[in-house]
């Protein structure tokens, strides 16, 4: 293997990320090539410097603060009509209203169903509107 090829592989060689065959070839080359060996030492020195760069640490209360934040976020979702329970309640209300509409006697005194003789399309719209209104009113 020539020096130019070794140079292109020396970084992966240092990281032990080469096939055993290529690795062995490079090891043989390094035994007899001072220039390439110097390159390898230079890269090792560089990595050493990078590893010694000053480390930063989070504030001690970082995890607690973050946990509190997600708790608050989760609580807000729970309260929201489109949150997990809110959404489930919405679906239950929709189902309830749907069956309520089917069961309810159609009396001229009520102003809810007369206009929905073309059931089901408009009545579904009616339920949807009621549901939205309910959600919006909360």
């Amino acid at each position: 293997m020539r020096c130019q090829e070794v140079e292109s592989k020396i970084s992966a060689f240092m990281d032990d990320e080469l096939d055993s065959g290529v690795r062995q070839t490079i090891e043989i080359h390094l035994d007899s090539c001072g220039g390439c060996l110097e390159q390898l030492e230079g890269l090792r020195k560089l990595d050493g410097l990078l590893q010694k760069l000053p480390r930063v640490h989070v504030a001690p209360e970082f995890a607690e603060k973050l946990a509190l934040e997600v708790r608050t976020e989760a609580a807000a979702i729970e309260k929201s009509p489109f949150g997990r329970l809110g959404f489930l309640n919405g679906l239950l209300t929709l189902a309830h209203d749907f069956f309520d509409l089917l069961e309810r006697p159609k009396s001229p005194s009520t102003n809810t169903l007369d206009e929905f003789n073309d059931f089901p399309p408009l009545s579904m719209g009616y339920i949807y509107c009621r549901l939205l209104k309910q959600c919006g009113g909360e």
């Binding site: 992966a12 990078l50 760069l53 930063v56 640490h57 973050l66």
Partner: protein
């Protein structure tokens, strides 16, 4: 496979806040250091680290264990860092935002320490100047010890590309370092 990490993610996906706190404590410092080296600014790094954990919390229920939990978390961090760099470029404030002398004031150090301090500052500054993928690959490899395959998963590039990115990053840094030592 990182089993304990996976268990934590599963628990977080079910809304377990104690598990979330454990996960944060496990990854907070490695993540902060990766992000800090990447963006070169302490305050931004803290904000981004916080955002990484919030994203982890929000998407834990959808996590699929194709990769290690740590790989997934660093991938989120990398994506957020890239977005941050794009935002900075748009604002053309990258250079101004670099906070280089935030650790120790040089006048309180011995001449030898000053030299080491200056070298470290030079390294931090030079790192931030590397092309983004090269920088990410180098940080993930050298400071986190990730394998080429893991880096390839995080950066979304092939394994040979990781090899090439690392080779070029080290070559460029070495050249800059040699120039610095000659001055």
């Amino acid at each position: 496979m990182d089993d304990s990490g996976l268990q934590l993610i599963r628990a977080i996906g079910k809304g377990d806040h104690v598990a979330f706190e454990h996960l944060v404590k496990r990854y907070q410092n490695p993540l902060l250091n990766f992000v800090y080296r990447y963006v070169g600014n302490r305050q931004t790094a803290e904000d981004l680290t916080q955002e990484v954990f919030l994203q982890v919390y929000r998407s834990a229920a959808r996590f699929e264990p194709k990769a290690r939990v740590s790989t997934w978390i660093f991938k989120i961090a990398y994506n957020l860092c890239m977005n941050e760099m794009k935002r900075r470029k748009r604002l053309a404030a990258h250079e101004r935002n670099m906070q280089m002398a935030e650790e120790q004031p040089a006048q309180f150090l011995s001449p030898d320490s000053i030299e080491r301090f200056e070298l470290k500052q030079f390294m931090i500054k030079t790192l931030v100047q590397l092309p983004e993928k090269q920088r990410a690959a180098l940080l993930l490899r050298v400071t986190k010890g990730l394998s080429y395959q893991e880096i390839s998963d995080i950066l979304g590039v092939s394994r040979p590309s990781v090899e090439s990115l690392l080779f070029r990053a080290r070559k460029q840094l070495r050249q800059l370092l040699a120039r610095y030592e000659m001055e």
